[in-house]
């Protein structure tokens, strides 16, 4: 019988990616509801020493596939490794990060195993009572429909945005196992590390060899700009069409620096080449929920709102009083960002100086 929640760990150059810990945290909560365990699957080359850490974050068991062919990510060897794990261990649930690696590997595995896969989930539930609570609090589903849900349903309910975040859908996979999902980075809570936790580490020989590689890596091109992770930032100062050009981000950078935050962007700034892709917020960019999001000259296309609407406090500065961002904002200022932003930076500097006296 299928059991346990398996988390496919993502590592790059031997570094475990944050989303993997977030998934272990989420899987731990679900496992408690299901009466099952969390198993981490660690794949790579010379990475076995990282297994312990996964236990400290909450995994009960770690399966390690340590092979030269897994040194760099390529599709087939990784797919074959997980295929072996699924066929030999029969997981109930398998979770992946919805990164450019997870979104490449997971659909191919689901296709090979013939099971369902839900992309880019932002919420997972097994317990119906918790799911009903969520529907009541955060959605427009009428009470009679919520009450009518079968509370004995033990399927994984995978909730994701569609249509650029306009509509939310909860997906189930009733007739096939494992139930598989990719989960957006930055959405699930980071679990506490506890070095006193113990668990089992199992080395798995999935019979992989260099012959499994059906692509040849000619070169690895590293991005020269240091990649910033805007999902980590507590404060984001974000610019859109209204900033007007690459130089328009400079005052935003200064404000962000003064606030100890990072600068971000809507899609237009990235598509126009004004700012690097890694700073894009939205459906095709990153999902963020900082304590403060200052939207400068961003009208608020639904794809953008989908990536930032859960920010704790939102300030919008825009000339257009009627734009969607104004409606979403906790504080909307109708005005010219080119005047207000530099003045705000100065005011913060002055305030800080006055506090230090």
């Amino acid at each position: 019988m299928s059991k346990d929640i398996y988390v496919v760990i993502e590592q790059r150059n031997g570094h475990i990616q944050k989303v993997s810990y977030e998934l272990i945290g989420e899987a731990t909560k679900l496992a408690a509801d299901m009466g099952e365990q969390v198993v981490a699957v660690l794949m790579g080359y010379q990475i076995a020493d990282k297994a312990e850490t996964l236990i400290h974050y909450g995994a009960s068991k770690v399966l390690v596939l340590d092979e030269p062919v897994l040194e760099h990510y390529t599709t087939e060897p990784y797919v074959k490794g997980i295929e072996y794990v699924i066929k030999n261990y029969a997981p109930n649930v398998v979770l992946f990060g919805a990164s450019s690696i997870g979104r490449d590997m997971a659909p191919r595995i689901a296709g090979r195993i013939h099971t369902g896969l839900t992309a880019d989930c932002t919420r997972l539930d097994v317990d119906v009572a918790k799911y009903q609570e969520y529907l009541r609090k955060s959605t427009n589903v009428p009470e009679d429909k919520i009450i009518a849900l079968d509370t004995s349903d033990r399927n994984l309910k995978m909730t994701r945005p569609a249509f650029g975040g306009n509509v939310m859908a909860t997906i189930v996979c009733r007739n096939y196992r494992p139930q598989m999902a990719t989960v957006r980075p930055g959405v699930m809570e980071m679990p506490e590390k506890d070095t006193s936790r113990t668990g089992e580490i199992i080395k798995v020989d999935a019979g992989l060899s260099m012959d499994d590689m059906n692509v040849e890596i000619l070169d690895v091109v590293r991005s020269d700009k240091k990649a910033v992770d805007i999902t980590d930032a507590k404060i984001l100062v974000s610019g859109g069409r209204g900033v007007g050009g690459p130089e328009g981000y400079e005052p935003l950078r200064e404000l962000a620096a003064e606030l100890g935050g990072e600068v971000a962007s809507s899609r237009i700034g990235v598509d126009s080449g004004w700012i690097e892709k890694s700073r894009q917020v939205g459906q095709t960019g990153k999902t963020v929920h900082p304590n403060l999001y200052i939207a400068c000259g961003i009208s608020g296309a639904i794809q953008h709102l989908a990536g930032m609407e859960d920010s704790e406090f939102i300030i919008a500065i825009n000339k257009d009083e009627t734009c969607p961002m104004m409606k979403l904002a906790d504080l909307g200022i109708v005005g010219d960002l080119h005047v207000i932003v530099p003045k705000l930076t100065e005011a913060i500097k002055a305030y800080k100086a006055s506090q230090n006296v």
Binding site: R108, L117, N166, V172, V220, R222, Q303, I348
Partner: protein
């Protein structure tokens, strides 16, 4: 070289607006377009044909109206077009969709299949890799550059923090990012030609010899929708208009201090 490009007709989500009263999607009058990533893939295919010869075939699964998307692809310069359209295909999830498209691709034949990375309505990025799996050919997704060298393709594969230059033997499947290339416009002669060309329409009967009816459509999809809903709109904030720049800054400062941000 036979290149087959899979395209999807999607509503232009940049044009989709929310009804402020009901919080639901206003889809009336929203134009349908060829999905951005798919169109970039089509353009890349046309450029490869110009350099290396061969043919470019476009395939689209969808309702009869998706014919328009295929006409646009023909007007851009595609050689022939297939529309996969049947009641039995309706309600397919990514697995079932990939099953149908892969069956058609086997019948059409190909050296290189190009799909978009993901569609702007579903945003799953799953159909490309799942077609590749059913075709049992290698895949390279997230392509930002694409070249042909002999019987192989060279792809710059994008990751969040780096890129790989990959070499893959054909037959294979590549999923294109919209950054791959800027699509050309249709030209007048192309538009006229596009309406003189025949689009091959394949229904269930045309594919049924190779298609398991239990694996397609709503019933054959491993995943099903359990609930769909709009989000609860949050409480309205304060909008302040007609302030001087200094007053605006003061209003913001008050909130930053109140919330202990500074």
């Amino acid at each position: 070289m036979k290149i087959v490009v899979c395209i999807k007709q999607v509503p232009d989500t940049a044009e989709v607006r929310l009804d402020p009263k009901t919080g639901t999607l206003i889809r009336d009058g929203v134009p349908s377009i060829i999905n951005h990533d798919d169109k970039a893939g089509l353009e890349a295919a046309l450029q490869l044909r110009e350099k290396f010869g061969g043919t470019v075939t476009v395939v689209c699964m969808g309702p009869p109206q998706a014919d328009v998307a295929l006409r646009e692809a023909l007007a851009m310069g595609a050689d022939d077009a297939y529309l996969l359209s049947a009641r039995e295909f309706g309600g397919s999830d990514t697995y079932a969709t990939a099953t149908i498209i892969a069956t058609a691709l086997k019948k059409i034949g190909f050296d290189l299949v190009i799909t978009g990375r993901q569609a702007i309505d579903g945003d799953t990025a799953q159909v490309g890799p799942q077609i590749a799996e059913q075709l049992k050919v290698p895949q390279v997704s997230y392509a930002e550059q694409l070249e042909v060298e002999g019987d192989s393709v060279i792809v710059k594969r994008q990751y969040e923090d780096q890129a790989h230059m990959l070499k893959v033997k054909m037959p294979c499947l590549v999923t294109a990012l919209s950054e791959l290339t800027e699509p050309r416009y249709m030209h007048v002669g192309g538009i006229v030609d596009a309406y003189n060309k025949d689009i091959t329409v394949w229904g269930f009967d045309d594919l049924k010899d190779d298609l398991n009816p239990d694996w397609i459509g709503l019933k054959g999809s491993p995943t099903n929708v359990f609930q769909s809903f709009g989000k609860q709109p949050k409480a309205a904030g304060t909008v302040m208009a007609g302030l001087s720049a200094d007053e605006a800054v003061a209003a913001i400062m008050e909130k930053l201090i109140e919330r202990h941000i500074i």
